[in-house]
């Protein structure tokens, strides 16, 4: 396999809406052929990040480039290489499935009609039924199918599986996986459903209050991140090669989430007392990270006032 090239490079990417900073100095690189789970609580900046990647809005500071060109220039010079389905984007009520598919086919030179017909019009959707009369699940299935069929190199999805039943959600993500594996395209999926996306994602990026609090490959995180239950007062040895991602004080112990390239052994060695160390799933890690940053924010507010 050839060395991956970066599809997306963000450098201190920031965006304000009025006086509110929606995205704050996010820097990351996403190689080709990966599915990235973009996680974060409501208002963390996920949609803003996707819109900046799609070149739909102008960054206030910093910048993003896709395929080596500025993201803001992409809608002019490489428009069909990006296809997006954001939560706030919807076709008009009168449009039926046939029209939506035909329209994407017109915009996308590499459109896969067989895929679109099989996926969009499976699950009991009549191609002539107006969009407005479809259920929420049918709508998402139709729109996500159109985006997956587009043949775009960068696919941006915001809650693509919202409203779908378990089987349809799994089907959607399996098809996304297959498209990414077969065509080498890249997908960024913003979602609250961590359980579903953990099955399929290669990388994870977690936003909290506009900041990127964690980014990495899931496989690496599985190796490097551990949850630690240390007795109160247990100290970390100085100069330990581990990074504390989050910590929380319980009544009789301290919970820590730590990362080290040395894995479990390095983390165990960093404490002077023997702690209980266990692997941590994405959902627990996500909660630890976003709650910590929330608490940090709260205490920062208190200091200011």
């Amino acid at each position: 396999m050839t060395e991956p090239t970066h599809v997306l490079v963000a450098r201190r990417l920031s965006r304000d809406y009025g006086r509110r900073r929606a995205l704050d100095a996010v820097s990351l690189e996403i190689p080709a052929g990966r599915i990235v789970a973009l996680l974060g609580p409501n208002g963390a900046g996920k949609s803003t990040f996707l819109k900046l990647c799609a070149g739909m809005i102008e960054p206030t500071d910093g910048g993003a480039s896709i395929f080596g060109i500025s993201a803001r220039e992409a809608p002019n010079s490489a428009p069909w290489r990006v296809a997006c389905l954001l939560d706030s984007h919807e076709p008009p009520e009168w449009a039926d499935g046939r029209r939506l598919v035909a329209m994407q086919a017109e915009a996308s030179p590499r459109f896969d009609r067989a895929f679109a017909d099989a996926f969009c019009f499976g699950g009991g959707i009549d191609p002539r039924q107006p969009y407005g009369s479809l259920s929420r699940g049918q709508r998402r299935r139709l729109l996500a199918g159109v985006v997956l069929a587009s043949g775009a190199d960068l696919i941006l999805l915001d809650e693509p599986a919202d409203g779908l039943d378990t089987a349809a959600r799994r089907d959607l993500y399996d098809r996304l996986r297959r498209r990414v594996n077969d065509s080498g395209s890249t997908a960024i999926v913003a979602t609250h459903n961590i359980h579903d996306i953990e099955r399929v994602a290669d990388d994870v990026a977690i936003l909290a209050r506009g900041r990127l609090v964690l980014h990495g490959s899931l496989e690496e995180l599985r190796e490097e991140v551990r949850e630690i239950e240390a007795p109160l007062g247990a100290a970390l040895k100085p100069d330990s090669p581990i990074e504390i991602l989050a910590r929380r004080r319980e009544r009789d112990a301290e919970l820590l989430w730590a990362r080290s390239t040395g894995g479990e052994r390095a983390i165990a060695a960093a404490f002077d007392a023997a702690p209980a160390i266990s692997p941590v799933g994405l959902e627990d890690l996500y909660l630890a990270l976003t709650q910590t940053s929330f608490e940090e924010f709260e205490s920062a507010q208190e200091v200011q006032s």
Binding site: N181, R199, E283
Partner: protein
Amino acid sequence: MRIRLDHHSGEPIWRQIVEQVKYGVASAALEPGAQLPSIRALAAELGINPRTVVKAYEELDHMGLVVMRQGQGVFVADRRPDVTASARRRLIADLGRRLLAEGARLGADADEVIKIVSEVADEMERQHD
């Protein structure tokens, strides 16, 4: 042989594949010389990134459990890797210590752990037949 993944355990996927192939070889569900699925096919079957499969196969290759033949595929190795008896004893003793420690944490003494291990060995033997 069917590989089953747990995506939520926090255990790296590549290591889960390695462990299950190892188990398959040990329980003789995978015969020497048997062909494993191609990287592409296994990635599609499991719904994972092909790079993860590559990493697992490379690790298995490194351990001497499989051989990757250019242009032909991946096969279960014909013979076990050469490990001296003393090295083997050291590695297995190390595993044993960890197993006993985990057992103790769960409230099982050494006798119970040994009993369970021999039962598992019988099970694997039966699957082989």
